[in-house]
């Protein structure tokens, strides 16, 4: 009787769903790991990892992608923090339109965005209605392409970064902090850099980690704009190698895990990014 009631209390179906989910999560990871360790016949070893990490192109593209991620994060902080701050302080009537814009990247997926960016910025920018050129086509020189792809990544990360920053500012009393700083003679620059930024650092970090997760393995923008990033490198590697791509895929998973783990640590919430699929 006692045993029966105890068995009945075990949520059978909940366990079934949970175990199925765990299987779906873990099987591909296990398969990838298992495959990546079998580069040498009949030996379990890290040869594929050593080979993959030794490739100078790996290091180059990986560092390049990290640099892009870092610049994207800096650019979006510079763009979004003052905007969100100003809306909270002075311009609540702009909230709706700005929030609307930050949701647009959900409507314009990466493939469409890059399509439009290429069509606009592969021709020179003239002063309207004249033939006077003010800008070379951005896609024709390296710095121009970098600017273009960073701008694109800022757009892809916009929903996440804006939401993080806005949530962060909700928890601090922006108005009082501003007035206190002003009465001590602080300039706007000082207020934002030395008062607001430190107060929302957890929110900034979580926005930054999400942006990092989107950018570091991104393929769509990177391959169409032709930059030497990690995503296209991994894709090309997969065309003519078997074990090294598996090794790098598993390593990417660990990297995503690291970013999301840190995110949970700093903000106590889960990241949901949908930009880079």
């Amino acid at each position: 009787m006692n045993l029966m009631s105890r068995i009945r209390r075990i949520p059978f179906w909940s366990w079934v769903w949970f175990l199925l989910g765990a299987l779906y999560f873990l099987l591909p990871l296990y398969a990838t790991l298992n495959f990546s360790l079998r580069m040498e016949r009949d030996v379990i070893g890290f040869k594929a990892y050593i080979r993959a990490f030794e490739d100078p192109d790996f290091l180059k593209t990986f560092l390049y992608s990290n640099m892009l991620a870092l610049l994207t994060i800096i650019a979006s902080i510079i763009l979004i923090v003052p905007t969100a701050y100003w809306i909270r302080l002075r311009l609540p009537e702009a909230r709706r339109i700005v929030e609307f814009i930050t949701l647009l990247p959900f409507v314009v997926p990466a493939i469409i965005l890059v399509f439009g960016l290429i069509r606009i910025y592969s021709s020179p920018v003239n002063i309207p209605f004249t033939e006077i050129r003010i800008l070379q086509p951005l896609t024709t020189f390296e710095v121009g392409t970098d600017i273009l792809i960073i701008a694109g990544y800022v757009v892809l990360g916009l929903p996440y970064m804006y939401r993080s920053v806005d949530t962060g500012m909700r928890t601090v009393d922006v108005r009082t902090l501003t007035e206190a700083a002003q009465s001590l003679g602080a300039s706007w620059f000082t207020i934002i850099v030395r008062i607001i930024l430190p107060n929302i650092r957890a929110a900034l970090l979580s926005g930054a980690l999400l942006t990092f997760a989107i950018v570091v393995g991104e393929v769509t923008l990177a391959s169409f704009l032709g930059v030497p990033a990690f995503g296209p490198y991994l894709f090309l590697l997969g065309q003519h190698r078997a074990y090294e791509p598996a090794a790098l895929s598993f390593a990417s998973f660990l990297l995503t895990w690291l970013a999301m783990g840190l995110l949970q640590l700093v903000s106590g919430e889960q990241g949901q990014a949908a930009g880079a699929h």
Partner: protein
């Protein structure tokens, strides 16, 4: 307000057009890198090869069988993974919230969902090739356990509709878990107690109380999953190398080189995609508002 008046520096007018200068950089950025590129595609889809206004591209969109097929394939994959991922994700979220599983499992699942919903693109495709490809781990497992060769004795192919759907599911249902877990937490204990006091069975409680309350957020999340799959490009490209003609892959081919031999038609194809995404986002936000009536 009296305090602000004492402070000379913050005595800028509380409202007025000057305040909009503060958000100008943001709008400038949005126009340059989001609005203009999108507008370019819209304008392009209404222009013929000479740049004259025309509806021909839009009309041709509905006549070109290859384009219709691509949309239809994308819609089917997105709907299948939204439905499958939605239901499975809901059941998982249920099992760790009100389903009575131990607390640590909940945080494990949520953490893993956060990672998996961000794990996509090339690495995800390679992981599934290692799992369900011709020499994949699970393929070999099924062969050894049941003696069935997936690729010779069944129709299964990782580089097809079902294969891509299974792969998409890897980021779809974790996203559902992340959205539904808080919604399930919003079910109030009092509702269940009230239902039980009135003599309702467990099934009656779920059918008549919990499910109707959850329905808008369930549907809304599934629409979000639909859009999530519909806009995906990298995973499909890495998995099938462009052989499976979903709409994003067709658009990619059009960007690389004018495969349709009509740039305007290419723009129209891209715009059609934006329209579908916009409709699904509107549906999502409408349902989200409805669900907030009960669940906060």
């Amino acid at each position: 307000m009296a305090q602000t008046a004492l402070n000379p520096k913050s005595s800028l007018p509380a409202s007025g057009w000057k305040n909009w200068i503060g958000v100008l950089p943001f709008f400038l950025f949005a126009v340059l890198f989001l609005v203009l590129p999108s507008l370019r595609l819209v304008m392009g889809s209404f222009a013929d090869n000479e740049g004259q206004f025309t509806f021909a591209n839009i009309l041709q969109l509905f006549q070109e069988q290859s384009i219709l097929d691509a949309y239809w394939l994308s819609i089917r994959i997105s709907a299948a993974t939204a439905l499958g991922g939605g239901i499975f994700g809901f059941l998982l979220a249920y099992s760790v919230t009100v389903g009575g599983l131990p607390k640590p499992l909940r945080s494990a699942l949520i953490t893993f969902s956060g990672v998996a919903s961000n794990f996509a693109g090339v690495p995800l495709a390679f992981a599934f090739i290692a799992t369900l490809g011709r020499t994949g781990f699970v393929t070999a497992l099924i062969k050894n356990l049941f003696g069935v060769n997936l690729y010779q004795q069944t129709d299964f192919d990782l580089y097809s509709f079902w294969g891509l759907s299974l792969t998409y599911m890897y980021f779809q249902f974790p996203l559902m878990v992340l959205i539904m877990a808080p919604a399930l937490d919003g079910l109030k204990r009092e509702w269940r107690e009230a239902a039980e006091n009135l003599g309702a069975s467990n099934a009656q409680y779920w059918l008549k109380v919990a499910f109707p309350v959850l329905l808008p957020s369930l549907l809304g999340s599934m629409i979000l999953l639909f859009g999530n799959a519909f806009g995906a490009y990298a995973t499909a490209y890495a998995l099938t190398g462009g052989r499976l003609g979903i709409i994003t892959i067709q658009i990619g081919a059009q960007i690389r080189g004018d495969v349709l031999h009509n740039p305007g038609l290419g723009y129209a194809m891209a715009m059609g995609m934006v329209v579908i995404m916009a409709i699904s986002l509107m549906g999502y936000s409408w349902l989200q508002k409805r669900s907030e009536r009960w669940l906060r």
